[in-house]
């Protein structure tokens, strides 16, 4: 329409009209743009004033100074950073004489602990379930299908509550705990064998640890496949030598009448939260894996079959490598929602970030300031996960390109 009018006006007037119209449009655009931003800012300011007045009515002042007050409450488990004069902060158990800020850190540490463990376990279980849905074995195929369907179609919260009240709390008491290759399973918690450091300053052990770390770094950041294989072998070798020379040793938990000593303990709350989140996320991951296997062109299967590859080799060598190249972003979304789902720990009393926030809000009344901290923590966790997944994705894509 505008073009039409401009053409009628003739070539000479055309330019002037066009320029004028462009300028008018430009000004209108800037005006609307400016008014949108101004309206947003005004709304934000009104919101802040309303919150401040509302809080003032309850006699609360919006400030973050409560973070430096003594907590005065205990947390059932979890560690925090303590500055006790040294250059590095010490990483020790939280006690009620610590600051509220340190209570928040305990919550973040507990959340990260569950999230990292759950990400690793749910990826393994999810890929197994996803491949299981394509198994040639009828029972395995249907079992995986129904497990995934059941978990996806019921709420996570009821699964969590069920794992806690109907499974973990019905484990045998510690005096009669089930023992399984050094793992102790009981109502009071799960205990695993731990790797402990016994090298105490011996130069050989320290050198071996340094070499192991270097090999692990090489394994992660190595540019070529052969270098990574060498590094992986070196890690196994160094750890083996460390065991043989007594630099590190396995510490097995020993169950007594009321509690277990040694090893790494896991509280029943953490075990239930981990179980629920792992099983739930694994079923979503299984669905992603199955979906992207289905989305691969059928020609891939046919070409592999025509080369005489059997089904297992086809899946391992042809199908899964291509699948992993496309599923990583979807996995990243699942990891983020997994991290958010750990906030349900409040339903069974696991002291993750949101639960500790609830305690702090109750104790101090600073619920709105606390929300800001909790929100920022979850935002940073989400960004960190998507950055890590993005890094892994780019790396995989590059590897695929050079091959």
């Amino acid at each position: 329409m505008e073009m039409h009018q401009a053409n009628v006006a003739g070539p000479a007037a055309d330019d002037g009209l066009l320029i004028a119209r462009r300028r008018r449009n430009r000004i209108r655009y800037e005006a609307i743009q400016f008014s949108i931003i101004a309206a947003a800012i005004v709304l934000l300011i009104l919101f802040a004033i309303a919150v401040k007045e509302g809080l003032a009515r309850h006699g609360i002042r919006f400030s973050f100074s409560f973070l430096w007050e003594a907590a005065g409450f205990d947390i059932s488990e979890g560690k925090t950073f303590v500055f006790d004069g040294g250059f590095w902060p010490a990483f020790t158990e939280f006690t009620s004489d610590r600051l509220i800020l340190q209570a928040f850190i305990t919550g973040i540490v507990n959340t990260i602990k569950v999230a990292v463990l759950a990400i690793v376990l749910s990826t393994v279980l999810g890929v197994l379930l996803g491949v299981g849905r394509l198994s040639t074995n009828w029972v395995v195929r249907n079992l995986s299908f129904w497990c995934v369907e059941f978990v996806r179609n019921t709420p996570l919260l009821i699964q969590l509550v069920f794992w806690y009240f109907a499974v973990v709390l019905h484990f045998p008491p510690i005096a009669a705990a089930a023992k399984f290759y050094g793992v102790v399973i009981s109502q009071q918690g799960l205990y695993f064998p731990a790797v402990v450091w016994q090298g105490a300053g011996s130069p050989l052990a320290l050198a071996l640890v340094a070499a192991t770390l270097a090999a692990v770094l090489g394994l992660i950041f190595g540019k070529r496949g052969s270098i990574r294989w060498i590094c992986a072998g070196a890690v196994v070798l160094f750890v083996g030598v460390l065991f043989a020379t007594g630099g590190i040793a396995l510490d097995f938990p020993v169950a007594s009448k009321f509690r277990a000593r040694g090893g790494i303990g896991m509280s029943p709350e953490m075990a239930a939260l981990l179980l629920a989140v792992v099983v739930n996320t694994a079923s979503y991951i299984a669905e992603i894996v199955r979906g992207s296997i289905d989305a691969l062109p059928k020609g891939q299967w046919e070409a592999a079959a025509s080369l005489g590859l059997n089904r297992r080799d086809t899946v391992n060598e042809i199908i899964l490598p291509q699948v992993f190249r496309v599923v990583l972003p979807s996995f990243g979304n699942q990891y983020i929602s997994l991290t958010k789902n750990t906030a349900l720990g409040i339903a069974i009393g696991y002291p993750e970030l949101f639960n500790i926030y609830g305690t702090i809000a109750n104790q101090t009344g600073h619920s709105l300031e606390g929300i800001v901290i909790v929100m920022m923590s979850y935002l940073i966790l989400s960004w960190a996960i998507s950055a890590a997944v993005g890094w892994a994705d780019r790396r995989l894509a590059k590897r695929g390109a050079t091959r």
Partner: protein
């Protein structure tokens, strides 16, 4: 027959050495677990607790003498759901046949001896079938569905409010919360999706920021935050917990709906917009009558999946002290008299959630197939 089943077994269970190994380890384990579960359900379990506490499970602590209000709400919900179904799938005779066993099952659960309940269940199912049939036979009704659902929800609120919104509970609360969130988050989500594609970078930033922040924080935190924030902002209104919970859910799920709608908007070919522009349509008209209908068509299946997500997250309202379906079950277990019926109650809860969830998933899959067939 035997030869064929032997052949099936050899192919599907013992095809390769690895399959033999899997079958030999998995089948006995599964059989043992099924045997344990069935023998418990048939002998040890005492199921009388479910009919006894069915009212609490369905409507929570809503007063028993006001139950007729809940029944009116259930009938309205049934009509709306039936009409929504009728917009896509035509009502046929076999569907009516399938609803009879559903009625029988519900009646058996509620107790045959209670004639009023059996009749009321029949009325509910008849309302569902009626809404379905009317919407599938008379296409003009479909245009009125969105305003009708708003009016229906308002009517439910009006009917249920007098005894006190704090008393709402049970499965009815879960369903109401899901419906209200699903209906309200759709327009907000569409606006956010358009805002994220706007020509104005200021609007784009605001919408993107809102969507991204909401998608990276847990729902339970948003619900709790809105719950404590609303009385601080509007002390004069004194909104009920239920309403505050619904606002929190709506604000959270609008961001998810916005992302689904945005993916649908991206799927609309550019040629559509360009063609409409060359016809001289205004930007608003283009978006309203060319882009949005095509985008919505693409995203209906994921949006139905989103309804399942909302329903599965509804138990989170325990954080603001509401008694939804799961919490009602826990309340029954908190009664010392029924303390040892953990597995019975949880089995019932799991089964109900699974049935409702599977139904929603089934509808989403059918819709996907249906719409895929329609597009060329």
């Amino acid at each position: 027959m035997i030869a064929r089943s032997l052949k099936w077994t050899r192919h599907n269970l013992f095809g390769k050495p690895f399959d033999v190994l899997l079958s030999l380890t998995v089948i006995p384990g599964v059989l043992w677990m099924v045997y344990q579960a069935v023998s418990w359900a048939l002998t040890a379990a005492r199921w009388d607790i479910i009919p006894q506490s069915l009212r609490v499970l369905m409507i929570g602590v809503f007063p028993a003498d006001q139950a007729w209000r809940a029944w009116i709400a259930i009938v309205i919900i049934a009509i709306l759901l039936g009409a929504a179904l009728g917009c896509v799938f035509a009502f046929k005779g076999r569907h009516a046949g399938a609803l009879v066993p559903v009625w029988a099952g519900c009646a058996a659960l509620a107790g045959i001896e209670n004639v009023t309940n059996v009749l009321l269940i029949a009325v509910t199912i008849a309302a569902f079938a009626g809404g379905w049939a009317v919407a599938s036979r008379f296409p003009p009704v479909r245009k009125a569905l969105v305003p009708a659902s708003f009016i229906g929800l308002i009517a439910i609120f009006a009917v249920m409010a007098p005894p006190g919104a704090g008393l709402w509970g049970g499965l009815l609360l879960s369903i109401l919360l899901t419906l209200v969130t699903a209906v309200l988050s759709l327009p907000i989500g569409i606006l956010l999706a358009f805002g994220r594609r706007s020509r104005f970078s200021g609007l784009r930033w605001i919408c993107t920021g809102y969507i991204e922040v909401m998608r990276s924080v847990p729902l339970i935190m948003v619900v709790y935050w809105i719950w404590i924030l609303i009385p601080v902002l509007t002390p004069q209104f004194n909104l009920a917990d239920v309403v505050r919970g619904m606002i929190g859910f709506t604000l959270f799920y609008s961001a998810y709906v916005a992302e689904y709608v945005r993916s649908g908007l991206q799927a609309v070919p550019r040629g559509q917009t360009e063609a409409a522009r060359s016809l001289g349509m205004s930007e608003f008209d283009i978006n309203r009558s060319i882009v949005l209908p095509q985008a919505i068509r693409v995203v209906v299946p994921p949006l139905v999946g989103n309804v399942l997500d909302i329903f599965n997250m509804a138990p989170l309202v325990f954080i603001i002290g509401l008694t939804d379906f799961l919490r009602a079950g826990q309340m029954i277990l908190a009664n010392p008299q029924f303390g040892d019926r953990t597995y019975e109650v949880y089995s019932f809860l799991f089964l109900t959630y699974f049935l409702v969830g599977s139904l929603i998933t089934f509808v989403a899959r059918k819709l996907e197939a249906h719409l895929a067939r329609g597009s060329r």
